[in-house]
C-alpha cells in the first residue's frame, strides 16, 4: 500500500463512447418524430378533466344495469365463451407444447414446424383473430369463441412450453429406456410432473379470456363487449360506465379466486 499520493498512476476518465451517444440521440430523435406523427398533445391531459363530456357518464342508471336482460345475460355468454375457449385452447396446447419442446418432441421436423408456426401465430394481434373469425363465421359468440380459442392456444403454449422445457427429464428418460413408445412415455414420464403447472396456467388463461371476451364484443364477437359497444355507439356513456364498474368487480373477483387456487396448486 502506497501512502504517498502519486498523480502518475491515475487512470484517465473514459469518454462516453460515440456509439452510446449516437444511439441515445437517435432514440430521442425518433421519439420526437413519432410524437409528432401521433399528434402528441399534452393539453389533452388537462382537457380530459375539464371536458363537459364527462357529464354524460353520470349518473349511472343502476336499474338498467341490473336488469338481467341487459347485463346478466351477456355476462353469462361471456363466461361461456371464456370456458369453451379455455378448454379447447388449452387442450390443443398440450400436444403442441410437447411438440415444441426439445425434451418431448417426437421428431425434429415436428419440432421445427411447430415452433415456427407458433411464433407466427403469436405475432398476430389477438383481436385481429377476432375480426377474422367474425368475418368468416359471422357476428356472434361463436366467432368469439373461435378467436379466443386461438388466443388461448397461443398464450398457453407460451407458458406451458416453458414449463416443459424446464421440467425434470429423469422420469421421461426412464420411461423411454424401459422401451415405452412416444405418447405413453410422455404420459407417465412427464405429465404427472407438469400437470399442476398446466392447471395453474389454464386457470390464468381462463382469467385472461374473461377479460378478453369483454373486449371481443367491441368487434362484434359477442359477450358483454357487444352490449358495451352498442351502448357506446348510442352515446349512452352512463350505461357504459355502469357496465364497466360491474365488469371491473367481476374481473377482480375472478382474479382473486384464480390467484388463490393457483397458489394451492404450486
Amino acid at each position: 500500500m502506497t501512502p504517498t499520493p502519486g498523480q502518475s498512476t491515475r487512470p484517465e476518465r473514459p469518454r462516453l463512447r460515440a456509439r452510446t451517444v449516437g444511439i441515445a440521440a437517435a432514440l430521442m430523435a425518433f421519439s420526437v418524430f413519432a410524437a409528432r406523427e401521433v399528434g402528441f398533445d399534452p393539453s389533452t391531459f388537462w382537457e380530459v378533466w375539464s371536458n363537459p363530456l364527462w357529464e354524460k357518464f353520470w349518473p349511472i342508471p343502476w336499474d338498467w344495469v341490473f336488469d338481467s336482460g341487459n347485463v346478466l345475460q351477456p355476462f353469462v355468454e361471456t363466461f361461456q365463451i371464456a370456458t369453451i375457449s379455455t378448454i379447447l385452447g388449452c387442450g390443443l396446447a398440450l400436444p403442441v407444447s410437447f411438440a415444441m419442446s426439445s425434451l418431448t418432441t417426437p421428431n425434429r421436423p415436428t419440432y421445427l414446424v411447430s415452433r415456427a408456426v407458433m411464433n407466427v401465430v403469436r405475432a398476430v394481434p389477438d383481436l385481429f383473430w377476432a375480426k377474422l373469425m367474425v368475418t368468416a363465421i359471422g357476428i356472434g359468440a361463436f366467432a368469439g369463441a373461435w378467436a379466443l380459442t386461438i388466443f388461448s392456444l397461443a398464450v398457453m403454449v407460451k407458458l406451458f412450453s416453458e414449463t416443459v422445457d424446464g421440467a425434470d427429464p429423469g422420469p421421461l428418460e426412464a420411461a423411454r429406456a424401459a422401451g415405452g413408445r412416444h405418447a405413453p412415455s410422455l404420459r407417465t414420464g412427464i405429465l404427472p410432473t407438469v400437470f399442476p403447472d398446466y392447471v395453474a396456467h389454464a386457470l390464468y388463461v381462463f382469467e385472461l379470456n374473461v377479460r378478453a371476451s369483454v373486449v371481443l364484443g367491441l368487434v362484434g364477437a359477442g359477450g358483454i363487449g357487444r352490449v358495451l359497444e352498442a351502448q357506446r355507439q348510442f352515446f349512452r356513456f352512463d350505461r357504459v360506465l355502469g357496465m364497466l364498474v360491474i365488469i371491473f368487480v367481476v374481473v377482480w373477483v375472478i382474479e382473486q379466486v384464480s390467484v388463490s387456487l393457483r397458489k394451492r396448486l404450486i
Partner: protein, 261 residues
C-alpha cells in the same frame, strides 16, 4: 362444458359449416394483394402503429418509474405505497381497448387516443413489474448509503437505481413488443394505426387485401420482436455477447422461435 356449448347456439351444421367457410375465405386470401394495399398507404399505417406503441410505451415508462419507487415496500412507507399499488391494479384491470373507447369522445378519433390508451395502461403493468424488481434488490448498498449520512434520495439514486435499471429497461422493451400488437388492434376502433385498414378490407370482403395487411403486420411485429429480444439480452448481460456469428444465430432463433440445442 355442455352448458357452454348449448349457450353458444351451436347447431351441428354451424359446427360443420364453420371450417369450410373459413377455408373458402382462406383460399381467397392467397395471393395477398400487396401492391394494392401499399398504394392505399397501408405501409404508412403500419408505421403509425409502431409510433403509437413507441410513444405509448415511453409515456408509460416515464410515468411508472417514480410511481414504482413509491410502491415498493423496501423503499416507501405504507401510507404511500398501498394507494399506489391499488392504482396500478386498477389501471391494469382496464384493457387498452376500453380505455380507448373512453378516450375517443374526448380526444377525438385518431392516433392520439390510441397512444394515450396504451400509455395509461402501460403505467399499470410497467409499474407492477418495476415494483417487483425494486423489492428484490440487495439491501446492502442501501445500508452503505445510510452509513455515510446520505439521504433517501441519494440512496435511491445510487443504491437502488443501478441495481434495477437494466431489468426495468428490458421490461420496457418487452412491453413495447406487446404494445405494437395492441396498437394494431386499437386501429380497429379508429384509434389510429393499421387496424382500420384490416377492418375496412374485411368489411368489403376484399380478402387478398386483408391478407396483405395481415402479412405486413405480422412481418413488422416479428422484426420488432427479434430486434427487441436481442437488445434485451444485451442489456441484461451488460455487455457485448459473443462474436457476429453467434449473435446472428441468436437473432435467427428469436425470429423463428426455434432453438438449437
Amino acid at each position: 362444458m355442455v352448458w357452454s356449448i348449448s349457450g353458444l347456439d351451436v347447431t351441428l351444421d354451424r359446427l360443420l359449416g364453420a371450417p369450410s367457410d373459413a377455408w373458402a375465405i382462406l383460399r381467397q386470401m392467397i395471393p395477398p394483394a400487396f401492391a394494392r394495399v401499399a398504394a392505399r398507404g397501408a405501409v404508412g399505417k403500419v408505421f403509425e402503429s409502431v409510433y403509437i406503441a413507441w410513444i405509448g410505451t415511453v409515456i408509460g415508462a416515464l410515468l411508472s418509474l417514480p410511481l414504482a419507487f413509491m410502491a415498493a415496500h423496501n423503499v416507501a412507507p405504507i401510507w404511500i405505497r398501498v394507494p399506489i399499488r391499488q392504482l396500478f391494479n386498477a389501471i391494469r384491470a382496464v384493457p387498452e381497448l376500453i380505455l380507448a373507447v373512453i378516450l375517443i369522445p374526448i380526444t377525438g378519433l385518431g392516433p392520439w387516443a390510441g397512444t394515450l390508451a396504451i400509455g395509461i395502461h402501460s403505467i399499470g403493468t410497467l409499474g407492477k413489474w418495476a415494483t417487483e424488481s425494486i423489492e428484490s434488490i440487495d439491501s446492502g448498498p442501501i445500508e452503505a448509503v445510510e452509513s455515510t449520512g446520505g439521504r433517501w434520495v441519494s440512496s435511491m439514486r445510487w443504491a437502488v437505481f443501478p441495481q434495477v435499471m437494466s431489468t426495468i429497461s428490458s421490461y420496457w422493451l418487452f412491453r413495447f413488443e406487446i404494445n405494437v400488437r395492441a396498437s394494431a388492434v386499437l386501429g380497429m376502433i379508429g384509434a389510429g394505426g393499421v387496424g382500420s385498414e384490416l377492418v375496412s378490407h374485411l368489411v368489403f370482403r376484399d380478402f387478398p387485401a386483408a391478407s396483405a395487411v395481415l402479412a405486413l403486420t405480422v412481418g413488422v411485429v416479428l422484426t420488432i420482436d427479434t430486434v427487441s429480444a436481442a437488445v434485451r439480452r444485451r442489456i441484461i448481460t451488460g455487455g457485448v455477447g459473443g462474436d457476429d456469428s453467434s449473435r446472428s444465430a441468436e437473432a435467427l432463433s428469436d425470429l423463428t422461435g426455434i432453438n438449437h440445442r
